[in-house]
Symmetry: C2
DNA sequence: GTGAACATGTAAACAGTTACATGATTCT
DNA sequence: AGAATCATGTAACTGTTTACATGTTCAC
C-alpha cells in the first residue's frame, strides 16, 4: 500500500487538495507512481478517518475544496513505513506481451505499435529533460533533498533513453525480416 | 487484461499445466510479466469456460493434473488483442517512493535498502545473462521468433544494468551526505 | 451567462495478493 | 512409510480502473 505514502510525502512538501495531488502525479511524481483521482480521494478520506492527515480550517465554508495537511500520526506512519523492505518493482509490460504473442502467432503487425511507442518515449524524455534543465541546470545540488530528487529524475531519463535505444535497434531489424519474407504476406 | 494473453502465448509455445505455466513465469516470461499460481488457475478456468482453451483428453482419469491447449477461439482472441494499442507501462516503484519520502522526512536510513537492491539486481542480471549465454551464445538468430525472444531478454539485461549503474552512483554520494552531516544522528 | 478548468464524489467491475487446504506423484 | 515436489483449488481481502454524476470558480 504505497499510494498512501506517496500522498503523505507529497503533502509534506506542500498541503494540497486531492485535485492538486492528482495533477502533481502527472508531473515529477508520476514517473515512478501514478494514480487516478478516484484512488486519491478514497485514500485521502481513509487517511483522514485514521487521523494521519487533516483539512485546513481556513477554507471558505461554501466551497467543496478541501486542503489536506499531514498530522503527527501521519509522519510517524510514514517514518515506520520507510524502514520496511520491499522487492524491486516487477515489470508488467503489455508491449512485451504483445511482441511475444505476435512472434508466436505471426502476422508482422507489431511494427506500427513499436513506432508509436518510440514517439511516446521520446516525448516523455523531452518532458523529463525540460524539468531537469529547469530545476537542476548545471549546478550540483548541495542539499540532500534536492540531490535525491535530481537522481530520481535522472533515473527516469535513463529509462526513457534505454527504451528509445532499444526500439531504434528493434524496429529496423524487424523491417528486415518483413522484407526477407517478401512484400505479399 | 494481459494475463490471459500471456497464458495463451505460453500455451501456444507448448501445451502445459497451470503449475508448469507458473514455473515458466519464474524464468524467461517472468521478467516482463508475473503472476501467482492462484491468478493463473483462475484465469485458466475462465478461458476454459469461454472456450479459448481446452484440456487434453489423454490424461489419466485418476489424476488431478490438467494439461491445457489453445483452441481456435483462443487464437482469434489473441490475434485480435495483438492489434490493439496500449500505453507504455508505467512504473510503480516502492523504492523510489521510499527514497523520496526519506528525503522529505530525513533519517538517513535508506542506504541499507539501496545496497540490498543493488545485490538483488546483480543477481537478476546474472540470471538473465546465463539464459542469454545458454540460448543465444554468439550467433545471431535468423529465425524471427528467436530474434524477438533474444531482444526481449536483452531489454531485461539493459534494465538491470541501468539499475546497477544508478545505484552504484547513488550509494556513495548518499554516504558523502551522511559523513558531511557528522557521525551522530 | 456560458464554457473551460477546478474539484469531489459514488458504484461497480476487474485484477492481484494472501491465507489456507488438500490430493497425487516421485524419490529414498 | 514418509518427505519433497508436483498440482489444484476456495475464500477473503486489497488495490486499480472505468463509468457516471455533480458542484465551484474563473475568464471572457
Amino acid at each position: 500500500m504505497s499510494l498512501a505514502h506517496v500522498l503523505l510525502t507529497s503533502l509534506l512538501e506542500k498541503p494540497s487538495t486531492g485535485f492538486e495531488l492528482a495533477r502533481r502525479f502527472d508531473r515529477s511524481m508520476g514517473f515512478f507512481w501514478n494514480a487516478t483521482h478516484q484512488q486519491i480521494y478514497r485514500e485521502l478520506n481513509g487517511m483522514l478517518k485514521k487521523g494521519w492527515i487533516s483539512t485546513l480550517e481556513e477554507q471558505a465554508a461554501n466551497s467543496r475544496k478541501k486542503t489536506y495537511q499531514v498530522e503527527q500520526l501521519g509522519r510517524i506512519q510514514l517514518a515506520t513505513w520507510i524502514e520496511q523492505q520491499s522487492e524491486p518493482a516487477q515489470l508488467r509490460d503489455d508491449l512485451m506481451v504483445r511482441l511475444r504473442a505476435e512472434a508466436q502467432l505471426g502476422g508482422n503487425n507489431i511494427l506500427p505499435e513499436l513506432e508509436r511507442h518510440l514517439v511516446l518515449h521520446k516525448e516523455k524524455l523531452g518532458l523529463y529533460q525540460a524539468i531537469h534543465d529547469k530545476d537542476f541546470k548545471n549546478n550540483e545540488p548541495t542539499n540532500r533533498v534536492l540531490f535525491i530528487h535530481k537522481m530520481i529524475l535522472e533515473l527516469g531519463i535513463i529509462k526513457e533513453n534505454e527504451w528509445i535505444k532499444w526500439l531504434e535497434q528493434m524496429i529496423p531489424q524487424l523491417k528486415k525480416f518483413e522484407e526477407a519474407n517478401g512484400t505479399g504476406e
